[in-house]
Amino acid sequence: MAAPIIEIESISKSFGAFQVLDQLSMQVMPGEKLALIGPSGSGKTTILRILMTLERIDGGHIRIEGEELYHMSKNGGLAPADEKHLTKMRQKIGMVFQLFNLFPHMSVLDNVTLAPILTKGVSRADARKRAMELLDMVGMSAKADAMPSQLSGGQKQRVAIARALALSPKIMLFDEVTSALDPELVEEVLNVMRKLAAETDMTMLLVTHEMGFAHDFADRVLFFDRGRIVEEGKPDDIFRHPKQERTQTFLRKIIAAGHRV
């Protein structure tokens, strides 16, 4: 068995007095598609944000491809990571946000080419070529010159996915990428993600309330509650035969509210 691409070792995180994550540990294998589900406030987003280095951890260790994320070796020992180390590590990770976070003052194409040109020194021409391929993949090449404000939510999110892919990360993080969308637009984004899962061997971490999609998409599902993994397993096991009381209640409520599992 290969080595895990992400190793999380008893990390903790508090906001003020409120402890969001408490001694959490987990591992993700290369190419694995992982779904994180659980009630609101259980810390799912926080985990993705920590992996993207948008929040710092209070304690514990994270290793990406065996290399420490928040620490670096220095004079034989471990020191807190500096900006340079973080920049290096971030090359391996991409993230797609719930509210897209496109740069509103740039065209679709510029949104996708900006980071490769600035951070990888790719030539403008090469960056454009690759961006058009990616936009094509998400079905947005016709809108390359549009501004984000001219796009629907689903279109924005597909551009955001292309933007994250342009840096060719090994790990992609998706935080409720469809929950800000009108129901009719959800499907077009999920289709892109299905395609992505099928065509690449990227490692993907997905936070979602779309249980049906999580079921079809994920290799493994983690159910979170209050910053802990309450239950994990194959999608069929979690959705059809949850063992824990908490998981059962959660799924019952979600189903009652009209979501298909």
Binding site: M52, L54, I93, M95, N101, L114, L118, M147
Partner: protein, 219 residues
């Protein structure tokens, strides 16, 4: 005492001299305020607590006290410590410092108004701090600031009569001087009022345009 058109024509050229000084003072003051404001805004964001709080206190002090008194200070007290400024220079420095504390607030609000998601997306794209500022934050923060900045420059323009206290012969001072010479206040003061109103009404139109052009970024 009634309105005398002949008198109006007689004093018009003198008042125009004042208009020239008023406009020069406003323009120079605005340029200074732009930079002073930027300096204050950046110093207030400094990670060094001493620098940021000291800057904050000084800015609050300047903003909380009257420009008129500050002008007296710059013009009459500073020479005691060997800083002798010509009246117009002292006036421009006074205007620039005073309004710099206002533009600093505009910068701060403009930067704070860029959603947190933009900073985060920039990080997820692995941009450096410098790239984030120049490519993502400032291009979004600056256009919405334009109307607010313009607003303060118009306010500054209307405060230039204060410079008469430090012997700058701007419009208001010219008008008073004319009034003192001929013992007639109605015509000069009314002309000054009409002049300010005209410029203000024009600037309202320009402001509307600025607001439409730069006021909001579509997201």
């Amino acid at each position: 005492m009634e309105w005398d058109w002949n008198f109006v024509w007689q004093i018009f050229p003198t008042l125009l001299q004042g208009v020239k000084i008023t406009i020069i003072a406003t323009l120079l003051g605005s340029v200074l305020a732009v930079f002073v404001g930027l300096a204050i805004a950046l110093l207030r964001r400094s990670p060094n607590r001493l620098v940021s709080t000291t800057t904050g206190f000084i800015a609050e002090f300047i903003r909380g006290t009257p420009l008129l008194v500050q002008l007296y200070f710059i013009f009459y007290v500073l020479p005691d410590i060997g800083i002798l400024l010509p009246p117009l220079v002292a006036g421009v420095i006074g205007l620039g410092l005073h309004y710099g504390t206002y533009t600093a607030e505009v910068y701060r609000a403009g930067i704070d108004n860029v959603p947190r998601g933009q900073w985060e997306a920039a990080k997820a794209c692995n941009l450096t701090a410098r790239q984030t500022w120049t490519r993502i934050i400032l291009p979004q923060a600056i256009p919405p600031m334009m109307p607010a900045l313009a607003n303060y420059f118009i306010a500054m323009f209307k405060e230039t009569p204060l410079l008469s206290a430090i012997t700058v012969l701007e419009l208001m001072n010219q008008a008073k001087s004319v009034a003192n010479t001929y013992y007639r206040y109605i015509e000069p003061i009314t002309l000054v009022g009409v002049f300010f109103l005209t410029i203000s009404l024009i600037s309202v139109v320009v402001l509307r345009w600025l607001e439409q052009r730069y006021g909001r970024i579509e997201r």
